[in-house]
Subunit: 317 residues, 4 copies
Amino acid sequence: MSHTSEPTRSYSYLGPAGTFTEAALKQVEAAQGQTWRPVSNLGEALNDVVTGVSDAAMIAIENSIDGGVTVAQDALATIPGLRIIGEYLVPVRFVLVARPGVKLEDVTVVAGHPVAYGQCRAWLDEARPQHRHLPATSNVQAAADLFDAAKQVDAAIAPPGIEDHYDVEVLAEGIAENPDAVTRFVLVSRVGPVSEPTGADKTSLIAELPEDRSGALLDLLEQFATRGVNLTLLASRPIGDRMGRYRFVIDAEGHIKDERVADALLGVKRSSPNVVFLGSYPRADRVSAEFRPVHDDNRFRDARDWLREVIEGVDPA
Amino acid sequence: MSHTSEPTRSYSYLGPAGTFTEAALKQVEAAQGQTWRPVSNLGEALNDVVTGVSDAAMIAIENSIDGGVTVAQDALATIPGLRIIGEYLVPVRFVLVARPGVKLEDVTVVAGHPVAYGQCRAWLDEARPQHRHLPATSNVQAAADLFDAAKQVDAAIAPPGIEDHYDVEVLAEGIAENPDAVTRFVLVSRVGPVSEPTGADKTSLIAELPEDRSGALLDLLEQFATRGVNLTLLASRPIGDRMGRYRFVIDAEGHIKDERVADALLGVKRSSPNVVFLGSYPRADRVSAEFRPVHDDNRFRDARDWLREVIEGVDPA
Amino acid sequence: MSHTSEPTRSYSYLGPAGTFTEAALKQVEAAQGQTWRPVSNLGEALNDVVTGVSDAAMIAIENSIDGGVTVAQDALATIPGLRIIGEYLVPVRFVLVARPGVKLEDVTVVAGHPVAYGQCRAWLDEARPQHRHLPATSNVQAAADLFDAAKQVDAAIAPPGIEDHYDVEVLAEGIAENPDAVTRFVLVSRVGPVSEPTGADKTSLIAELPEDRSGALLDLLEQFATRGVNLTLLASRPIGDRMGRYRFVIDAEGHIKDERVADALLGVKRSSPNVVFLGSYPRADRVSAEFRPVHDDNRFRDARDWLREVIEGVDPA
Amino acid sequence: MSHTSEPTRSYSYLGPAGTFTEAALKQVEAAQGQTWRPVSNLGEALNDVVTGVSDAAMIAIENSIDGGVTVAQDALATIPGLRIIGEYLVPVRFVLVARPGVKLEDVTVVAGHPVAYGQCRAWLDEARPQHRHLPATSNVQAAADLFDAAKQVDAAIAPPGIEDHYDVEVLAEGIAENPDAVTRFVLVSRVGPVSEPTGADKTSLIAELPEDRSGALLDLLEQFATRGVNLTLLASRPIGDRMGRYRFVIDAEGHIKDERVADALLGVKRSSPNVVFLGSYPRADRVSAEFRPVHDDNRFRDARDWLREVIEGVDPA
């Protein structure tokens, strides 16, 4: 970015090299040429940010097949001081790999991260009906497990390109069920001033519902609907204190500095016992929010001007 | 109010002395000892205010039997520069009066203001089935018509106490259908700064619906509902340019300086092509608005503080 | 309609010949060649129907300038046994007429029905600033008043064509404020089976709001909105027992035999303490209702089939 | 149930003996003395029902800490022919166990099902900060892993009572974070006629949102809200074909044979491109649904009677 002695920034991500998370981090322009810190789980990644070990962490937040990454949603709901500053999409494709010389018909035990396994199970049930699954802690670790004799693994589900990192052979490609599957990642930093809108932004928040009111979710959704703010994600998560109490993970189109979004957030804040603002950031798909003219920024400003004049008694005549 | 040479204020009202409008004006403390200007119709009363001839005008705005006084609603919707500053209730009671010596069984032609006639018709149909109605321009004028030979009036519908002003005898009392009937009056002045809330206030406005959206009325009502603002009046009036286009006359509980009311008005202003704010003023019945804590002023201020801190990046941790 | 001895039908209308109401009745094909019964007011017209003196009555129900004809709305709300069977639109145009030889500059006292006067006042204020208004009981009666010496009337506001009925001269044409003004009439009969839908129908009803629930109007409107039923009229009328209690006069697009309308009416009936169904009838403007496929009749039938199968336990597999 | 030769029923559940699922099945009166079939995963349990190997399967559906069991939700959404017939709650409590003689200070590697581990991690972080986690396929398997030398496990997270099934000693009790945690199980059978309401019932369904309408979720929720039907669960699940498309897993208070629930389901069916009815069954907590009189069964029947009479033209007078 500059040839002066700008301090290096550090980015934590679920490693090792070769994971989908690393693929997401490769999309971050500002991260190129900086320090990349592979970690072994989500908690470690977020802890690096909270403690200042890293400036930001890349984490998986939603999968088009498997849904929200609930442990990430719950972490963002409960760890204070974090802020989402970017969103990245990585296509989900898998290959089946084995140690050199192993053939598909030799495969019984298949290592794989549980999410990856879920997406490839249909193919495995067809190709190797008698296979057994051994869970791995990451897609890359599954390949590494091939070389841990104690684990007795015959094959591993891994991302394309894994053969650059391990001495493996590809037994089959494109084994995931849905060829359009994609994982959504977010880049998380410590809390700081919100960046400016780009015109194609997304705002993430988490809101608890009040305990004592049926229809509370309807009220919450109407805060967005009456301001013409579309939601791209709505996921319920148990608060955890007792059955039936939920918080909602919400992604809304637009930026907190858009008047209609700010007004909706004010409404949500008033009606919810607990709201966590997670950030406003550019959308990965660069799609601009659509809204009717009645929800335009100018309309909000004009209304405020009108209200002030009306209270002061300026004669409209 | 003071013994210094404070200029006298002038109040216009539908005269002559003895009308229900005068009874409403008698309830206005600040009007006592000032100039009272009887006029012959609503247009004259409001014109007095617009032109500065009077400081305020008392006008009937709603009747518990007959509904909104539509001509008054339409005048407030279209004459700029007016503001409602007070509300007063007058019980609607009628007596049947005649020239001395006339008996009930002699009565055929009955003079009465059309609204008064409507409220007394059931009684008249029973007592004098063959009667005919001659419209009068006010309840007091009906009594005056008894002494206009050309009109050939036998009896008149008039307010109690009319015998203090005219040489008439009361043939029957309590002839109106509903003993609890009441007329609501408002005191109208020129536009000026809105007075402070009293805790038991009402806010009046008139809003047009957007032309091109079904569900527009639902949207309008939700602006109030989502802020917990109850409506005490909702009346549709044709805009008049073509069939099917309406403006709505709305009375809402609370004061424009109450946060929840101000926020609802902002929402209405944004979504309506034309809003006329008619005023926030103390309610005649002194009933305080009821609302849930979530719509309290503090909740609005706290939400704004939260939004500002969130945008600035104040760490909540 | 037929030369066999079909009994003659009788139609009551606000007479005499020449009124807008007569013009509406002229639009009713089935009424041609039948008995037409001019009456002097709305109550008489409806009473003719209730008592069987007439088969139907034509009454004015809404005016594009002046709004709902409240006395007609209130009559339909409270007189049982009536049903609207047709809708007709009549353009509202007025001429100023006088006895032969009278000139515009001679005119001081102008007779006119109050509604007609309201629509022509702007023209009269301009042309004859010093004029006075004498209320008449109908637009035709205003012309008749020209020949009642006791009334001292100089000119009358009357409908075009009045010169066919009275010896008058037209002083000015097109004196009403809005050239597009129109009055909506409905043809009212006794209750009977609802006729079949035509595809361009309207359904009229009157519903009271429950006394004890704020947000009750919103609930009422949502009964229509959730079934995709648009409203063409919504007017509040006081119930009359005390201030603040309303019934709503509603015209909805569609026919009670349309599934979406029937379902909305069921919802209204359940939530309202009192609903009066006034009728489903062809729209005067012949405009078909627009609705999304999701509100189509088939969708309703399919859903009922599905519900029955689900309860019976038919395996969808 | 009877000593006559009634055929034995078979129940599949996630085994082996000692799991929470077995604890749920122990609550099913009709299952006592019948054949219990331990299986190793959810897919096997449901497949037993689909193929007729078992009459019913007990499966975990929601956890008060961890949220919906998404794989179970997705299975019910996509496997046709299944029906929920009962609901059971099992408190979630964990003990830490080891082979006889092992002390807490010797523990490094802890076996545990990932969900169980999540609930006990706080305690383990405190007691054994350097511990490592080895995932197990069930809570009971974690204990079994203690005796698989290859796995080198020191201690296991297991349900109370595990010492009845394995030769283990309890190192610590009550190690789960939340003492009130509970898992909700449902008993699933093949599709058949819905049983009668008990007055304290729950209805489960899964509905897709239409693709092309923002506000579609609001519409869906209003189908329940306008009939006074409370929701006890609302969880979004990706449909899986592309990012941003969801189905919603819904638990509603009441029974499909309750009129208000049936009417809400009809509305959902009309507006959703795909609805799966999962069943109406007695609630585990035996809490009766609360609703306003306006949503009572009688109100629905009365409204239908009224609609029919109105269409037929029965005179209400």
